[in-house]
């Protein structure tokens, strides 16, 4: 709806920029509680206030920040947290692969900035805009608008969470991290639509329970890798079976 209205009313760079920002609005509200909770937990987990702010400002990856805070609290070493960040954020490679045909004509500076700001939310909103069949030359301004508003929103709520967290000393005991867990459940379910994905989820779950006591949270990485391999294997087996069936026919 929003997109249609804004497209009819406005064209050009400015119009695209503000349309992108406006269409991202519902997702800003979605990011709000996570920013607050991240900020509140970050300081009690062992990050300094400056560290918590800096992480939001220069990493700018909600779920990775959330997980990092949890890992810091559990005493995981820096190297494991960075490897986990890498794995959690690998999905962004898919996003940039998807947007590549649209972005490759842009200058290096544009690609650099849009890459820095590429979050789940901005990807979702912008990919929809790129798919629309009008010949606007400024669709990347739409993505920039979405990017900037997401960024400012995230910084604001993280900072608010840090203030809040410092006012409530026992905030860790509230179990606020449950918000992350149920959100992750909601993010996982849409993937579970075919046999390979079921194999992935089951394998990752079982291996994570066999390995959760591994030192340095290595179990997390073992479980994730096992899940990925299980999915790929299942996919292979299924396609081989299909080929066999075809030959029999």
């Amino acid at each position: 709806m929003y997109i249609l209205v804004s497209m009819i009313l406005e064209k050009g760079k400015r119009g695209e920029f503000f349309a992108g920002a406006r269409d991202t609005f519902p997702l800003l509200i979605g990011a709000l509680p996570f920013g607050l909770i991240y900020g509140a937990l970050a300081v009690s987990s062992g990050l300094s206030v400056q560290g918590a702010l800096a992480m939001s400002a220069i990493v700018f990856a909600g779920s990775a920040q959330f997980i990092a805070v949890g890992l810091i609290a559990s005493g995981a070493p820096v190297s494991i947290i960075i490897i986990t960040t890498f794995m959690v954020n690998l999905r962004h490679l898919l996003y940039s692969a998807t947007l590549l045909p649209e972005l490759k004509r842009l200058s290096h500076a544009w690609r650099f900035f849009l890459a820095f700001f590429l979050t789940d939310e901005t990807f979702a909103v912008s990919a929809r805009r790129y798919r629309m069949e009008d010949n606007s030359n400024y669709k990347h301004w739409y993505q920039l608008g979405s990017s900037i508003i997401m960024y400012l929103n995230w910084q604001f709520w993280c900072a608010a969470g840090i203030v809040l967290g410092s006012k409530i000393p026992d905030v860790k005991a509230w179990g606020l991290d449950v918000a992350m867990i149920v959100a992750f459940i909601g993010m996982t379910i849409p993937y579970i639509r075919n046999m390979p994905m079921i194999a992935t989820v089951f394998t990752a779950g079982i291996v994570s329970l066999l390995t959760w006591q591994f030192p340095y949270k290595l179990g997390l990485i073992a479980a994730a890798v096992a899940g990925i391999l299980a999915g790929m294997t299942a996919e292979r087996v299924i396609s081989l079976k299909k080929n066999v069936n075809k030959e029999e026919l």
Binding site: G51, M55, V59, F60, A61, A64, Q65, I67, A68, V78, T85, F86, M87, N89, R91, H92, L93, L94, S96, A97, L100, L103, R111, F112, L114, A115, F116, L118, G175, D177, V178, A179, I181, V182, A183, F184, I185, G186, M187, T188, I189, P190, Y191, T200, V201, T203, A204, G205, S208, L209, W212, L220, A223, A224, V225, G227, I228, G231, M232, E235
Partner: protein, 109 residues
């Protein structure tokens, strides 16, 4: 966490995150993702998320706890059920039902 550790951590996280987001765009026309990698990437999010969720729910605070004292457990179970029941609003259904159940178990049971 020491200041030095924090600096290393945040720089490292920023570097890996930005590299993932930028690498394809940096080499744009000359570089395509190998098919095998693209296939594997599909499975990364559900695998990593599950590997985080399951131990967080069953071993909160670093100990096995399969009882009603563990409010994470019913919250997660309900979040899964709600997510499958409302395929068009999965995220909303999982988060709201999970949080409600968690709050209920924490404060009333």
């Amino acid at each position: 966490m020491s200041i030095v550790d924090q600096i290393i951590l945040i720089t490292g996280m920023a570097a890996v995150t930005f590299s993932i987001r930028y690498i394809l765009l940096a080499f744009s026309s000359r570089f395509a993702l190998p098919q095998k990698v693209e296939k594997a990437l599909k499975y990364v999010p559900p695998a990593v998320l599950t590997a985080i969720i399951v131990p967080a729910v069953l071993t909160p605070g670093g100990n096995w706890d399969i009882s009603l004292n563990n409010a994470y457990l019913p919250a997660a179970v309900i979040a899964v059920i709600a997510g499958f029941l409302f395929p068009k609003k999965v995220l909303l259904a999982s988060i709201s039902s999970g949080l409600l159940v968690f709050a209920f178990v924490r404060f009333f049971l």
